[in-house]
Symmetry: D2
Subunit: 401 residues, 4 copies
């Protein structure tokens, strides 16, 4: 667990007072935020008596859209979180139900029943995870108290260019002011901005798996930004819990297929991140595949190296860039990342391989699409926004086999 | 987290001093054991500085046979355990390797390399989990220092009758003294004996899923002990990590089959437990099935109720028996346990259903075979043996989907 | 291929003229039926020229409800059938579409587009497979020309007692005259009646897997009819292609659960068949389980043997009963049936095992729920009804792995 | 079945007498070969009496290495083949066993027991499928009677350059004369040569899926031969039935990983085929992935189009090239091939998609790795070699779901 201390130091390196203090108005959050950053952090599992006593001192968390997979994953991750406590859960069609009736694996959680979002009382909430569909999300977030910290897991605030949003999502953006405020929450890349953000647009799963290896390499001019070819493979949970014929067990098991070839909505998000790193417009080839696993995502990325660069250069740069990170792990040379080695965890494993074609390299990264690709990174971000160590509640080990 | 306090009180009800104090000779263990039972327990994830300082005050744990699935599961569960620290791992064929090279999902664990068991130094070990094959186990455990606490996950010490052992395992028992000392570790049933045990024989996965519902019902004379029919379904990890044609993906996926019909080695263990509860010889019908899932086990149990008993009686008795337990959960009426709702966790979900045939009932229980059916229950037992709250390190939520 | 001749002889033993001749009014069917039974049967795959020439001489088949899994399975099985040719397919919501657009695995089939059932022209149809939902089915079949041969795969005509139908299906039966006419199509048990039937109620999947082993044993008084306990495990395709949350990949993979405990609608069908064999009311315990496989079904059946009967008696009786059958195979002693060894085929494998409890036996049978449990048996029945060898088009080998 | 006639005509276009006649010495084969090509082909399933009579007139087939997956797949495909009859099966470690004991899904096949290859009697064999490991294969084939037709499914005779063989397989080639004689059996590309071959080197699964779309495009100069990037995904059966830890269910289910990055042994075979088409050395980027399905393979291929070429050009060229083929199917525009839509069948589905990056295209092809990628194509080849229609025995429909 030595990695923990390094992360603490990352945190402390970036300012002896949490950034969140500077800007927040909610005085209760301010007080807790301060406490969290200077006090010995609260313990996790053996402390119920103590915690019950000071329950009021935990941050109070709302989960909007608790009946989907990203919502339930937030709840799972928060179950043993020492500083966060869920006080509100919304789910319009399941309003009035307990979380255990909707997600029986959460039957032991002692949580309030779900309510419709229109009936939600935000007065006892310090921060929310917004796990709602795109489109709806903008309207809901516009209506939230401005004192709330928000991590939004939808696509609604990821694209800086609202024109692009309109093009890819087929509807005008109705929260353009919020869009300007939103910080894109790829944690390891934008940690400082996230710490002081009120609204974080949590990255999509594919963009996370692709940008984590590519942004550092592009910034360092080690790879060409033309002809980046990304072949991604995703588990089915990324498609959500909605009942669709295409996602039935019988339609998914024992097979693979591409989908949304060249037209997947994560394309503009990927290109936005890479373009920003390159300080030039980047167009990528991106082909996602759906395969028979519930969780997991691999991106196999084919790149041209910059003139003079070698795979060794790429490897060393990524090693330096991520060596103090808790969750992004460059494997030893030749070790191949497997999605099943990150299942249920917030880790991203990656590696770089030489290609047979001279001058090219192959980069592989794997994540759990529901954790680092969604709810885990969202928690990592909210930890930062609240001024507590960003790995809090995220150190569970991958579940294998 | 409310459930935690109830477990603490269970623990405290059973004596204000941990049982382990009475019998152990190792003074360091004694001291830690005392500390663990009276001090506020150490926290889990935010405490690395503090912990590094007093690292020596954690119990030092050995994992014998770390290269199999039950071994790696112990390591996963201990990764965030506040009171236990792995200081020794053995694996004969993988001696000299790191755990991350054998189990890449553990690549972030900072642990000593594996050694051959013959080269193991037990001087810095307080307790061991023994995850070795039956047969071998007896010899190894005979050679361990008597100061060590041991939880043995093999079958070697589960059967009180060494004649029965010989019959089912086809070899004489070479550790009969140890057999007499061993306590059968079905935690919720034998908690008191486990607390004071030095050597615990951790139950098999099938016997755990079957005895947890049946023993209370038999003891209360609510069911007949004749014609108990058990149809169990197991995930493949129960078969271990050995390379066998029968367990290849291609031989397991998309199908089901019975195996070991009437001859599975868990039969004598099941019958031993039920017979003891019944104070009479019980013979069961037991048919295990292998199915395409890595983890998970369901036992569907068909019983005749005692004259005058109803499914309501069975339900209420199980409710009363387990209501204060952390890990054994009787679902609400009509709710059906699913194995996927306990995946990765130490929970056992169960329920009782009326049968169409008058006078009969159907009992369903589900566990994760690698957790409550093996390494999780083993940790629950060692927690008890060491005098710390038995749910320590075991509160992670099931992973779904 | 040796098995073929035995089946032919079974057929011929039952009458040198096909039964279908006696009752049918459609003269074209009569002519073809006669031809089929006396001529050397038409060949399968190398005969296209010859077949094109006499294409009109094939029986013309309609598939009502072609957009579901049982419908597509009929189409798959008929693709190389030498005597049947699909001339009509209905699917209300997919009317106007080609089969290849709805089921891309059928893209090479040269078939008419689907039409709404109300627009169907039955004038060029000799027989139909009706793959529609229960309830709807009655109305549709009432409206069909009386010259058509019909195999109905729904539950609508399986229960002789319309009161029982009403009780289990929650609606009155609106085709009681047809119900009286319908023959229950468990082929190996009711071959003679099926040969002369106009309307066959094709058995459900669970009832097929359960009745095939039990009916002969009950008729021979080798087993008790009390306390028959059936634990069945099914693949997901049995639930159809409808979009339901419960059948999503993410909700099914890597787990098992019971469903409809004691209340599954196949119960009255099973009890009807066993009661008829026993000439007394039989009540069974029946618990189905849903598991992660697309196709396949196992029934593990726990029975009390009649006084004096042994598992050897049961084994020998089943051997004698089924030894001339093509599709029902009693394995060698101790060989355990696996569902994956019948995948995609019309076979039922079964075996008998002694139980540990004296006087009891365990019977295991496996089928592919979509073939012998649905469309395969339906084709077997229509072959019989049309006077052609019943194995025609059904001899493909199971697909393994 | 309309497709059949087109194939017949393809056949006939290529010579009114089968090529096999010109070179074979075995007079019995010659006679049958002639008969097959001129007579109305023998029928398949309803003809047992007739067939038993002239059983001696079927070609007699040996399967060397019948205990592996490609061997069992040959047996499955031949079960209903009208012109081929298995008279010899070898399997060294399973010698003396029946095929049903090794592959229970073949339990109904009436076939000779397996023998060790050293004990095989080739006097009653006209042709063999050789399903042995590379290396071994050379020695065995050298020892076979020269009158035998041979389709070899190993890699031993695929590489024309024995130096390359030595480099990739780490051993010298011990059958260089045979290597010169061998014809590479990518059926649709080399049909003429295959018809007159005695020894066919059956292509690997990956090379089949990659070369079928690429060779026509390269020959037509529609794509650049530099920077061809191939990301392939395979089911596990390609790894064979050998017991390996890496292929256990628990190690494969619910995850994906790349393997053999840049070093997979199919690379030289792929590059050989493409280089030959290009009449220049082609080096490809090839990354295979192993995923949780037993059967199926997808290659997602990223190419640069030749100057002036469009995806429409690529599409039309492939349409023209394959429109008369039975087994290679270019889907309608925008339709995405799924592996599950070819499962169990000999089809290859493919399509062409525009890329976001101007000037690039994405080509997707799917096959069943055990059928078109191994045993199915082998049978297609032997059909050709024996002078019978090449689709004989290969027209079964994919199994879905």
């Amino acid at each position: 667990m030595g990695s923990l201390s390094s992360l603490n130091s990352i945190y402390i390196d970036r300012g002896s007072f949490p950034k969140c203090l500077n800007e927040i108005k909610n005085s209760r959050v301010k007080k807790l935020c301060l406490r969290a950053s200077v006090a010995t952090s609260a313990p996790t599992s053996l402390q119920s008596e103590e915690f019950k006593a000071k329950k009021f001192e935990k941050f109070r968390i709302g989960v909007l859209g608790a009946s989907g997979y990203t919502g339930s994953e937030i709840i799972r991750l928060l179950a043993n979180h020492p500083n966060f406590q869920i006080t509100l859960m919304t789910a319009d069609r399941k309003a009035g139900q307990s979380i255990g009736s909707v997600f029986p694996h959460l039957v032991k959680q002692d949580l309030p029943d779900m309510v419709a979002v229109k009936d939600a009382d935000f007065s006892n909430v310090d921060a929310v995870f917004c796990c709602l569909p795109h489109g709806t999300t903008q309207e809901i977030i516009k209506g939230l108290p401005s004192s709330l910290k928000i991590v939004d897991l939808s696509a609604d605030f990821r694209l800086r260019d609202v024109g692009e949003y309109e093009e890819w999502y087929g509807q005008p953006h109705r929260g353009q002011e919020l869009q300007k405020e939103a910080v894109y929450g790829l944690t390891e890349i934008s940690r400082t901005e996230i710490q002081s953000a009120r609204l974080v647009a949590n990255p999509g799963c594919y963009p996370t798996s692709i940008q984590l290896p590519l942004i550092p390499l592009i910034k360092a001019n080690l790879i060409e930004v033309k002809n980046i070819i990304v072949d991604s493979k995703s588990g089915v949970s990324g498609a959500g819990r909605g009942a669709k014929e295409a996602n039935l067990y019988t339609e998914i098991a024992e097979g693979i297929h591409s989908y949304g070839v060249t037209r997947h909505r994560h394309v503009p998000e990927i290109e936005q991140g890479l373009s920003e790193a390159a300080k030039a417009k980047v167009t990528v080839s991106f082909t996602p595949h759906l395969m028979p696993m519930s969780r997991g995502m691999q991106s196999t990325i084919y790149v041209e190296m910059a003139p003079g660069a070698s795979t060794e250069d790429l490897y060393q740069h990524l090693r330096n860039f991520y060596e103090k990170e808790e969750f992004v792990v460059l494997l030893k040379k030749n070790e191949i990342p497997h999605t099943r080695h990150v299942r249920g965890s917030n880790y991203c494993l990656m590696n770089v391989f030489p290609d047979r074609i001279p001058g090219r390299a192959i980069i592989i990264s794997v994540i759990d699409n529901l954790v680092k690709g969604a709810s885990g990174q969202a928690l990592q971000n909210l930890n930062l926004m609240m001024g507590i160590p960003e790995n809090t509640g995220l150190l569970s080990i991958p579940l294998f086999p």
